[in-house]
Amino acid sequence: MNTPPVEVPDLRPRRQILDRVFKGSTFGAGALILVVLVLIAWTITHKSLPVFRSEGIGFFTKRKWAPANEVYGALSFIYGTAVTALIAVVISVPISIGIALFTTQVAPSWLKKWLVSLTDLVAVVPSVVFGLWGIIFLAPKLVHVYKTMHGWFGGWPVLGHLFGPASAGRTFMTAGLILSVMITPIITSIAREVIETTPQTDRDGALALGATRWEMITGAVLPHSIGGIVGAVMLGLGRAMGETIAVALVIGSSATITANLFSSGDSLPSVIAFQWGEATSEIKRSALIAMGLTLFILTIVVNLTATAVVNRATKRVQGA
């Protein structure tokens, strides 16, 4: 109360400089994202050039991978990446949507918190731990399952090709199964967020018309959130394609293209990780980096499409 008035120095010029420095540095930090992305694209493209020079387009179309004879074809790895990611998505989609629907539409609020934590916990488990569990615990047990399934479905028209003879537990299918658990948290959390934006009036209206809960879900919730769910699934697909260590440990590491899901194979990221240590020649390293570039482009295309789908879906919903 009785403090004497203090002489206030005019801080404006100094303050303005500080303010500008602060703004500049935050701008720099933000721009770093752009810089890093450009650098990633530039450096790995540059290092991929040797293999593209010697193989040309054949790098993408040849299935033969024989570094000893300097033949580098990545087709079987691209195939393996696609197959494992597709298996993962096919298994994970019904499960993730089921969890998201159960969490938002069925579970009471006290259970809801626990269910959210459960899916978050799955995301916390490091991928290498899933890989370790897959290679030592799961894969040996799955051999019998695969053999039984081949016995059941082996003679069927389409399934017979997919469920072919199994010799080991490390297969496309095992990799797909592990991946499906790993991508469930990401699909579930986005699907949950989208589903929760369904207007309460839509749900109430459906129930008031006498719909059961399931009819309310199919009639009001799913049509509202289908766009966002498709986007969520694509983000999961992108994640599954780029997953390295878990797949590297359980896929069996052999360059094969076959419809048999119970055969061992290989994927882009897992072959990079697995063969890096033995890759001493410049051209083989270049081939592995070129596979990284392929993966980079593939995941960016998938993720961009996913983002576009999600954005369009939310805009449509907000506009309605």
Binding site: V106, P126, Q200, W214
Partner: protein, 307 residues
């Protein structure tokens, strides 16, 4: 409002059932689909439980079987020899993750400040926001290759150091930190900023003294989740840190190792001794990752309560 509406809906549902206006087939379908949704939860819960139970039972017997040595001795050189010691990997994981955090968290938060406090809806900010999403989707192995080409190759064998691994992990963390921090900054009410400006504070002062402290619970828990994710990563380290078996506290000199690399390397071996080491390392790593996650939860709960 919502609670009342929910109660009304519940009452309406029970009323509908009492009047038995719903045919048996529709009711069965509803029950079956609800059961299937529940099964999905059970499936993932079971898978998680199975993974954790295996890691804990197998890992515990190794870690407790060689109790102090596990944390104090270096790693056995030959895979087929049972040997205690994971100290080198524990130290490696800690120093590399710490270095990555020191690099990525300040940059990420600063980037988020730019996006939310300065850039807002400007075209460049929109582009950056979009690119942050793109970068978050880039597979971790590509980050490892990038740091290998960009940072390790020019330095030759001197490039295989903990710091290179930390750079790769920082690239991985940066978009996660930017996105989660921006989300939290956006939740800070505009009133607080306006009040600060009205008192004559500049934008930088407002951001540092008002906006960031208010958003800190969420920002910190987002960062800790990014740290937990980075601590468990393997793929970016394969190309960048070399393969050491002895403890190396120095991230700037000499090869290093990490828990994740030890799990990966030992899981590939067919010797039981090596596999046991992998389980022990897995338990240690999961314990670390969960510690960070729990810390994130507690910290954000505590900070938001004191406010």
């Amino acid at each position: 409002m919502a609670v009342v509406a929910e109660q009304l809906v519940d009452r309406r549902e029970s009323l509908a059932e009492e009047l038995s206006g719903i045919s048996g087939r529709r009711r069965t379908k509803n029950t079956v689909m609800t059961a299937l949704m529940f099964m999905a939860v059970v499936f993932v819960g079971f898978a998680l439980l199975l993974v954790l139970a295996t890691v804990i039972t197998k890992g515990w017997s190794i870690v407790s079987g060689s109790f102090p040595a596990w944390f104090t001795k270096d790693i056995q050189l030959r895979p087929r020899v049972a040997g205690p010691g994971m100290k080198a990997a524990i130290v490696g994981t800690c120093v590399i993750t710490f270095t990555a955090t020191v690099i990525a968290v300040p940059l990420g938060i600063a980037g988020a400040v730019y996006l939310n406090e300065y850039g807002r809806n400007r075209p460049f900010a929109r582009v950056l926001r979009f690119l942050a999403n793109v970068m978050a989707g880039v597979p971790s192995i590509v980050m490892g290759l990038f740091i290998y080409v960009f940072w390790v190759v020019p330095r030759g064998t001197n490039g295989l150091i903990g710091f290179s691994g930390a750079l790769a992990l920082a690239c991985l963390m940066l978009p996660i930190v930017v996105r989660s921090s921006e989300e939290m900054l956006r939740l800070v009410p505009q009133n607080l900023r306006d009040a600060s400006y009205a008192l004559g504070a500049s934008t930088s002062r407002t951001t540092l003294r008002v906006v960031l402290p208010t958003a800190s619970p969420g920002v910190i828990s987002g960062c800790l989740l990014a740290v937990a994710r980075a601590a468990g990563e393997t793929a970016p380290l394969i190309f960048t840190i070399g393969a050491a078996k002895a403890t190396n506290w120095n991230v700037l000199k000499g090869t290093n190792t990490s828990l994740s690399m030890q799990i990966y390397g030992n899981a590939k071996e067919s010797f039981v001794t090596a596999q046991e080491r992998a389980w022990g390392a897995a338990l240690t790593l999961i314990a670390l990752a969960f510690l960070f996650t729990v810390a994130a939860r507690l910290l954000s709960a505590r900070l938001s309560r004191t406010r």
